[in-house]
């Protein structure tokens, strides 16, 4: 939970990630400022291509080529990750901040047994740990995940999707990192497996005293787990608030649109709304609110100036509608 006495464990400041391509520069992430506090679960939501995955990868400085940092910094406990030398960076990845990915089916090396994955994950950070100890630790963590120790000898192709995703988590947590970045962790799983997986993630969050950054387009999952939600649109952060605030009173028209897209049994909504229009073109420097073309409440100013992210009593949004206050 955000707390003024609590220093952020991860502090993203004015981050821009750009992709130079033949027809111009794509601004995949633009001017994002976001603090993540110890122990919280922060959900990052938005439609595909909004920059949420790029933001997640940039926390480990793993942007897909040819992406690079345009400006800004990412402070982990006060040190800028983007300015780290290679050794420090490698050591930080996996040990302090770990990440799990969307597709568990392809996230394990098909030619390596589960055991070798664990041994590698430990030994690249602690070269002096012997193989028996690595296996011992792997068994312990697998027990927490509800997987029998004899699975260690198996190869990825012998395991189910849910099993592989749990092993991915085990690999991420084996070194007890502070932060877990989860990029669409349930998208590739079927509904039943997803439910079990979400429970597991909630349990691990407490068990391992984790800070979790949950990147997803699945609002249901985020609502279930997150303390705060950051909404991204067109590479920008457009709204940041607690889960309750977002679900009770979304401020940004885009967030409002997102809420309308969620089927909600309890509220007996009459029809399910799809948002009109398509995601914005991110090539070039924007001169207007990127959501303006799709926005039902767009005004003249929206088409000529980019709205800044402003604070409204503990929650933030970037929209000209609230110039005079919420």
């Amino acid at each position: 939970m955000p707390d003024s006495a609590n220093e952020p464990i991860l502090d993203i400041r004015d981050l821009s990630i750009i992709y130079p391509i033949s027809i111009g520069t794509v601004h995949a992430v633009q001017d994002v400022t976001l603090s993540i506090y110890k122990g919280e679960v922060l959900g990052i939501v938005g439609e595909s291509g909004c920059g949420k995955s790029t933001l997640g990868l940039s926390i480990l400085k793993l942007m897909k080529p040819p992406g690079r940092i345009g400006s800004g910094s990412i402070l982990y406990k006060g040190t800028d990750i983007l300015g780290m030398d290679d050794r420090t960076l490698l050591d930080m990845r996996g040990r302090n901040i770990a990440m799990i990915f969307q597709n568990p089916l392809t996230s394990l090396d098909p030619l390596m047994s589960v055991e070798r994955h664990f041994i590698e994950a430990i030994q690249v950070h602690e070269p002096r740990t012997g193989v028996p100890e690595c296996i011992e630790r792997a068994k312990k963590i697998l027990a927490d995940l509800g997987i029998e120790g004899n699975r260690l000898k198996e190869y990825p192709y012998q395991l189910s999707g849910g099993m592989r995703q749990r092993i991915m988590i085990g690999l991420a947590l084996i070194l007890h990192p502070d932060i877990l970045l989860a990029d669409e962790p349930t998208t590739a799983l079927d509904v039943i497996v997803e439910a079990g997986f979400t429970e597991l993630l909630i349990r691990l969050h407490e068990l391992y005293n984790l800070t979790v950054v949950l990147i997803s387009h699945n609002l249901g999952l985020v609502a279930q787990m997150a303390d705060r939600i950051a909404v991204m649109y067109g590479g920008r952060l457009v709204e940041l608030a607690t889960v309750n605030q977002i679900f009770e009173k979304p401020l940004h028209p885009y967030t409002q649109g997102l809420m309308n897209c969620v089927p909600n049994i309890l509220l007996e909504q009459k029809e399910l709304n799809a948002m009109p229009g398509s995601p914005p073109d991110l090539v070039g420097e924007p001169t207007a609110c990127p959501f303006a073309p799709r926005c039902p409440k767009a005004m003249d100013i929206c088409r000529s100036r980019v709205p800044p992210l402003k604070d409204y009593g503990g929650r933030r949004t970037a929209c000209w509608l609230y110039e005079g206050g919420v």
């Binding site: 793993l62 080529p65 050591d91 990845r93 990915f101 996230s107 098909p110 030619l111 590698e120 190869y155």
Partner: protein, 338 residues
């Protein structure tokens, strides 16, 4: 163990139809075409009755079909028959020449992979940079260089203009060939005798032919390695291992290259016949006493059984290599069960 043995037997059985097809093709072509061993041996001016007598002796007066059945019967007993020109078993010259060809192709293969794979990996890591374009340019140029011309150029540069390497044969004239009786693989023979002066000489003779063969085929492997590495480097497990803090070198060589090698190994089986074809031309250029030379010498003499024998041995060679490729494949990939 039993499974592996069964698999092995299956594979061997599967090569029989291929051998059969090739053999039939060569058998028919050899006999339908003009020219025969008797005229090749005796010349055009021998009296008719001598020619007929000789033909009967060799069984050439029988109908083709009957000759074919006789030959197959012989083969079924593992017998390649006798030469029609020289007084020798067909297996004799083949046994002499085969090690030379194997030695050449083996070293050629080492050079090919030694150049092709590292360059391909490098190009994939430096995608769309000057290095990448340079390496791809090399691959395409080299692919279009005829093997024999590469041989001639290397001979000219490193044999004549800069006389560093010998340009013909497997050993220098001063070395007595009876030293090489054990296996016929000169590198192995000299090693076993501990004769390092001779080993040096043998290796010097191998350098140009092996590089001729190796460089010309390396282009294919550069392209293959690059394409597969690009695919694998994009994969999720590469990203996941980077996220775990695995150093780049280890990501590339331990995870990516190992996975990229699987399709490369498969292609190796197919490319091997290109290697053998290249070996014939290299043998011609470097007067290398291998199977290719034997084939050419005996084709001119219309020595049917020897030509057929050489073709069979080449086909067996190809099958054995593809069997080895399958086994290697099963060793690297846990998903494959023999």
């Amino acid at each position: 163990m039993r499974r592996i043995l069964n698999y092995f037997l299956m594979r061997v059985l599967l090569t029989i139809p291929m051998l059969f097809v090739l053999l039939t093709l060569v058998f028919v072509v050899l006999r339908v075409m003009p020219g025969d061993p008797v005229s090749a041996m005796l010349g055009g001016h021998a009296p008719e009755y001598v020619i007929q007598q000789k033909k009967a002796e060799l069984g050439l007066n029988k109908p083709i079909f009957e000759q074919y059945i006789d030959y197959l019967g012989q083969l079924a007993h593992g017998d390649l028959g006798n030469s029609m020109i020289f007084v020798e078993r067909v297996s004799h010259p083949i046994a002499q020449r085969l090690p030379a060809t194997i030695e050449l192709t083996l070293f050629g293969l080492i050079v090919t992979l030694g150049i092709g794979i590292p360059l391909g990996v490098r190009a994939s890591r430096k995608r769309r940079t000057a290095q990448d374009f340079g390496i791809r340019f090399y691959a395409n140029i080299v692919y279009c260089i005829p093997v024999f011309w590469m041989g001639l150029i290397l001979q000219m540069v490193f044999g004549v203009l800069l006389p560093i390497f010998p340009i013909a044969g497997r050993v220098g004239a001063r070395i007595i060939s009876s030293d090489f009786d054990r296996t016929g693989f000169y590198v192995l023979d000299t090693l076993m005798k501990g004769n390092f002066a001779d080993l040096g000489d043998v290796l010097m003779h191998l350098v140009l032919p092996a590089f001729t063969l190796g460089i010309t085929l390396s282009g294919v492997f550069v392209r293959l390695t690059r394409a597969n590495m690009l695919d694998v480097l994009k994969s999720d497990y590469v990203l996941a291992s980077r996220a775990r803090g695995v150093p780049e070198r280890r990501v590339v060589y331990k995870h990516a290259l190992k996975n990229a090698l699987i399709p490369i190994v498969t292609m190796l089986g197919l490319q091997f016949s290109a290697l053998l074809a290249g070996a014939i031309l290299t043998e011609t250029t470097f007067s290398w006493p291998g199977m290719g030379r034997l084939l050419l010498e005996r084709i001119y003499l219309r020595d049917y059984p020897t030509v057929q024998g050489v073709i069979i041995v080449y086909a067996l060679f190809v099958s054995v290599v593809s069997l080895i490729v399958d086994i290697v494949y099963a060793i690297i990939d846990p998903r494959v069960q023999l």
